[in-house]
Amino acid sequence: MSSEAERSGPLPVVPFLKLPPGAEPYLEGHACGECEAVFLGARTVCSRCGARDRMETRRLADVGTLHTYSIVHRSFPGIEVPYVSAVVDLEGGGCVKGNLIGVEPDPEKIALGMRVQVVYGDALGRKDRDGNAYTSYFFEPRAAADGSAR
């Protein structure tokens, strides 16, 4: 998938998704050197402790736990439903929201607190006005993610 991504040159769906050439994608956090708060996206001041110019980039873990979720059945026109909107705490810091895939959108099938894997792939075919494709990140239940690249 990553070699195909290189050829077509998809863009990252958000600035904190990094797509290094020839290497695996990853999520990047900005951690405060003073208080360890982790942010998504570049910044210079920590809104937790107020420290300035102490931000350091950090590669975030690609494993985490499902903190909470909602199963979305009604969205805006053109957006396929249902889907699972998931809030995931990454191991070692950082909290990210994304679609939980590889599981039925059914509360009986989704366990709060379960381990999830961050996986990467095409942004559901969405393209911008200039026709650019995008790479996005998703979450999969850890068991389902083992041994498959999505």
């Binding site: 863009l11 769906v13 958000v14 708060a37 982790v38 942010f39 998504l40 809104s47 937790r48 903190h67 909470t68 979720y69 909602s70 199963i71 979305v72 059945h73 009604r74 969205s75 805006f76 957006i79 396929e80 439903v81 889907y83 699972v84 909107s85 998931a86 809030v87 705490d89 810091g93 909290c95 990210v96 929201k97 994304g98 679609n99 509360p107 709060l112 607190g113 942004a123 559901l124 969405r126 393209k127 911008d128 995008y134 996005s136 990140y137």
Partner: protein, 383 residues
Amino acid sequence: MSGVYVLGIDMMKFGRFPDRTVPQLGAEAALMALDDARVTIQQVQAVYCGNIGEANAMVGQRVLHQIGQTGVPVVNCANACATGATAFREAWVAIRAGLYDVALAVGVEQMGRGLLGGGAKAGGISTEGLLGSGTMPAVFGEAGLEHTRKHGTTFEQFAKVSVKNHHHSTLNPKAMYQLETPLETVMGAEMIAYPNTKLMCSVNVDGAAAAVLVSERKARELGLARAVRVKASVLTSDPWQARDLVLPDVSTCTRNAAAQAYEMAAIGPGELDLVELHDCFATAELLHYENLGLCDDGQAGRLIDEGETALGGRIPVNVSGGLLSKGHPLGATGIANIYEVCTQLRGEAGKRQVAGARIGLTHVIGLGSACGVHVLERVAQAS
């Protein structure tokens, strides 16, 4: 510092008024509040106006263009769903500081139908349904399931909030809806974002509410018989939380505001006779039982199961019908909540009257975030 009183307050019946303008709606409520206070626009020394949809368009001044251009200072406020409470509080601040004896607070909103939040962004691609959801039903669904994770709260318990609040609204002629919704109807309604069904989402409506606030000196001069004392007025914002960027935290700013309000009012939650809280979604109401100290953490499900927050229960919550059924015109909601509590404290709530109500609390949350809490107390002795 002066004590501050609500001398007059009113709201229009919430509904959909596409043929009227925002200033017209605001003006209607303002005139109703002035009449309730028995003062004229000429006596008003400052105006605080809350509105979101036309926040850059001088709504407060345009209200005065409808009802009296007296040249007094006008401040326009926008603070998400805490907008009306913020306008009310700014009037309170100014009177408490001794700047004015009479101030008018107006909250008004005209809304479209449909989902709030999560709309398309400029440039790039839409991330809605790709990076989860930014729609409000989903955001508050996630907040609800966070409570489920901690305390085992069930879909049915969340749904019971809607049954209760819709029932309450059958007793409120100013509510958008007056319809009973049995539990199976609520749970069986179209699922919007689990665990919130359509009947567990607040209603987008148009509406306006307004209040005349006065100093203690002015209240004594004009008559205390129907005056309501503002015992506490608090506004907080969201302190840093690890999940801030993806899961708005409506609890911490509420807990902080509640603690400050109880301290300012020198009461505990056990002394409240009723509460109007921010039930923008059914899930939210249960969180706020605990956030406002109406029960211990983990007990919100029990509170709704045992009917303690229903009219006639230990601590009635949202007897107006709440945002779920009275309706949620964003900028008006904060003052409409205060109207309900004042009406109850005055003993004028008719069929939904909380017997002997003496002290009440109002709460609103604007996502982003702002939390406004007010504690109000009856002045006149019960007859």
